[in-house]
């Protein structure tokens, strides 16, 4: 008679999903609560990583390699994003001497209808 083996926490898909959701929520909270543009950038990175974790956990669950390739592509896109975002921060800081993300309203369109 086979004894039922106790399933460990690290064996459950749900624990990985829960961790990923907590990290995603932390990233989201960082985006909505902080004004510092660097923290906003890091929160975006954290959210990308949480999504990566869900991909890899589901890939292990289905014993498929494809989600790992997708996670790799997400990492490459994050690297591309880093280059553009950081150079944008450098330009913005040079011109405005501030790291406040509210100064991004300089990107808004001028209302030409009222002259």
């Amino acid at each position: 008679m086979q004894e039922r083996i106790k399933i460990e926490m690290a064996d459950l898909l749900l624990s990985y999903i829960a961790l990923a959701m907590i990290l995603f929520s932390i990233g989201f909270l960082g985006i909505i609560s902080r004004k510092n543009i660097f923290i906003v950038y890091m929160s975006i990175e954290l959210m990308l990583n949480a999504v990566n974790l869900i991909f890899v956990a589901l890939g292990r669950y289905n014993e498929s390699m494809e989600p790992q390739v997708m996670a790799m592509i997400i990492i490459a896109i994050a690297a591309a994003e880093a280059a553009v975002f950081l150079s944008l921060i450098v330009v913005l800081y040079r011109n405005k001497k501030s790291l406040n993300s509210d100064i991004f309203n300089v990107l808004k369109q001028k209302d030409t209808a009222n002259g």
């Binding site: 399933i7 989201f28 609560s33 592509i73 990492i75 994003e81 406040n100």
Partner: protein, 169 residues
């Protein structure tokens, strides 16, 4: 044993994430983020993705966050230039309460999946060889498109960072 490793890595990851959004200095936040990313790399290794574990440490902790730290040091920000965030803590608390239903929804959806052991697979699941075969057999076109994307972002970064000659100052 695996349980202890998983719990330790999860605590480090969550602690690093909270440190990242709570520190006021961007430098401290970036170092907290490195803790989170390395812990996530360890969790990738637990999920039998050794190649992604390597990529996570080399590319994320080694390249992207180093670039970020370099930019933070390069700008040489003084304390009085940091934006003041008077509503930081209250926004975090209210936002966390509002996010709970969303998280419960996702977890309930995943709870319907049948239970299955997720112990570490041996052989070449996730190894460089099988990863490369997967990448170059099924994902060749996205791989080539990524090279175009990286080239475009490289050109974009150079265009942004160029000195504007028309405007003085």
């Amino acid at each position: 044993m695996v349980d202890i490793i998983f719990l330790g890595l999860a605590i480090f990851a969550i602690g690093g994430g909270f440190g990242m959004i709570l520190f006021s200095q961007p430098m401290h936040s970036a170092i907290s983020l490195i803790v989170t990313l390395i812990s996530l790399g360890g969790i990738f290794a637990l999920l039998s993705a050794p190649f992604l574990f390597m990529v996570q440490i080399i590319l994320y902790a080694g390249a992207i966050i180093t670039l970020l730290l370099f930019i933070i040091m390069f700008l040489n920000i003084r304390d009085d230039e940091l934006p003041d965030e008077p509503n930081k803590n209250i926004t975090i608390i209210i936002g966390a309460i509002l996010l709970i239903p969303f998280n419960i929804l996702i977890l309930k959806a995943f709870n319907t999946f049948p239970e299955k052991s997720m112990n570490i697979l041996g052989k070449d699941f996730g190894s460089i060889h099988s990863f490369g075969m997967e990448l170059f057999n099924k994902w060749l076109v996205p791989f080539e498109l990524i090279s175009m994307l990286l080239l475009a972002s490289l050109v974009g970064a150079v265009v942004y960072a160029r000195k504007d000659k028309n405007r003085d100052g």
